[in-house]
């Protein structure tokens, strides 16, 4: 992103940027940058906190008043922690492993989606939006695409001629459904807790692990790349090894 800043500046447009990885910004030396101490994926720090987001944004915009550069400033206020008492009660919303432990992983995955559906409806009502929709499929259809691919190692050509790209969008949609659902439940969730919940406690993550293995075993190089890097986050993949 620092490169974009440099190129735009060379063309006569002032730029200021938010930096999430200070070492990268130090290397590329963009004209104006504000390093923030937030996790990857949250450059403004925290969702649904306009006053905090305003403080971050104002600090970045005020760098436009600098007389010379490059400028690399630090924003030292940590993102607000979620309520620790509420967070302490965070757990898998339903004990799927006990309720459906004799069923196949496919059936447990589909049941899990059903069990989360009322939370997802609530999330939609509250926010008036969903981040789903990349694949163009409803959640159950998206889940069935994964199951079908894992079991048959093929995908309906009526759906796509680019299986890796399509499966990637399906996975994005499924993860969005889960994180939007759990975010609607009582209590606030730290990003790390949501990620840990999804990858450690849901049947969806078990299905995605199977998807990764199926893609890695495929003869399609694009599916190989998707399986190796695009299904499971590296911190989870390396933990499992």
């Amino acid at each position: 992103m620092g490169a974009l800043g440099r190129y735009l500046e060379e063309e006569g447009i002032s730029t200021t940027q938010i930096s999430l990885i200070r070492e990268h910004t130090e290397a590329i030396r963009p004209p104006r940058a504000l390093w923030v101490p937030f996790i990857l994926g949250r450059p403004l720090g925290v969702p649904n906190d306009p006053p905090f987001q305003r403080r971050v944004l104002l600090a970045a915009l005020e760098l436009l008043n600098a007389n010379s550069g490059p400028v690399l400033a630090d924003f030292l206020e940590e993102a607000p922690a979620d309520n620790p008492e509420e967070a302490a009660g965070f757990a898998c919303p339903v004990q799927f492993s006990k309720m459906h432990q004799n069923e196949s992983i496919d059936a447990q995955f589909l049941q899990e989606i059903v069990d989360l559906s009322s939370w997802h409806h609530l999330a939609m009502e509250r926010r008036g939006r969903t981040s789903m929709g990349l694949s163009g499929m409803e959640i159950k259809s998206a889940a069935l695409v994964l199951i079908e691919f894992i079991n048959s190692r093929s995908i309906d050509r009526k759906l796509t001629n680019a299986p890796a790209d399509f499966l990637r969008l399906v996975c994005h949609d499924i993860r969005a459904y889960y994180t939007e659902s759990v975010a609607a439940q009582p209590g606030k969730r730290e990003a790390k807790e949501i990620q840990e919940w999804f990858w450690e406690m849901t049947k969806a993550s078990k299905v995605m692990m199977l998807l990764r293995d199926a893609c890695v075993d495929s003869n399609d190089p694009a599916l190989n790349r998707f399986g190796e890097r695009g299904v499971v986050p590296s911190f989870i993949a390396n933990r499992a090894r």
Binding site: M1, A3, L4, R6, Y7, L8, E9, G12, I13, S14, T15, T16, Q17, I18, L20, I21, E23, H24, I28, P31, P37, F38, I39, G41, R42, P43, G45, V46, P47, P50, Q53, R54, L57, A60, L61, L64, N65, A79, R127, G128, R129, T130, S131, G133, L134, D165, L169, T179, E180, A183, R189, A191, Q195, A222, G230, V231, P233, S234, F235, N238
Partner: protein
């Protein structure tokens, strides 16, 4: 927080390896401008967001394309198809402003902190090698000037 000392060994190596892509730029480009209260600001994000109707980001040439986001775009029209799975998406799922702070920018325009907000904003996918973005960036500069933009806020993911 993203301090390299705090991430896993694997992630730290990955992030450090990327530094080699960021060296080799020379000079210190600098464009002055008016006071902040007079500036017209656009957002350029590398978060891989786009309108639902637009093509998703992907591999190859598609990775250095950009998508146009009109300032009037509703939150429920925005989706994220960035290739990487190694960053938090739950914040974006809850509030677009955590990666694309359009509401906050509009508030700053309304209270006079900045002059105005651009009509058009742009989204890249940050997974592309930095120098591969040069032709698109220079093309973008022309479009930004046609929108009377003098300042850009760059947001990563």
């Amino acid at each position: 927080m993203v301090k390299l000392a705090d991430v896993s060994e694997h992630e730290r190596k990955h992030l450090l390896a990327k530094i080699s892509e960021y060296v080799g730029f020379t000079g210190n480009p600098w464009s002055p401008g008016p006071a902040l209260s007079k500036r017209r600001v656009a957002i350029v994000t590398t978060s891989g967001i786009h309108r639902r109707r637009d093509n998703s980001f992907g591999e190859g040439a598609n990775a250095v394309d950009y998508r146009v986001i009109p300032g009037s775009t509703k939150h429920d029209e925005l989706v994220m198809s960035h290739l990487s799975v190694n960053f938090d998406r739950s914040g974006f799922h809850q509030d677009v402003n955590v990666v694309f702070p359009m509401d906050r920018l509009m508030e700053f325009a309304a209270d006079g902190t900045i002059g105005s907000v651009a009509d058009y904003h742009y989204s890249f996918m940050g997974a592309a090698p930095p120098k591969s973005l040069e032709p698109r960036a220079r093309q973008l500069a022309v479009l930004l000037k046609q929108d009377n933009v003098d300042s850009v806020l760059l947001t990563p993911v």
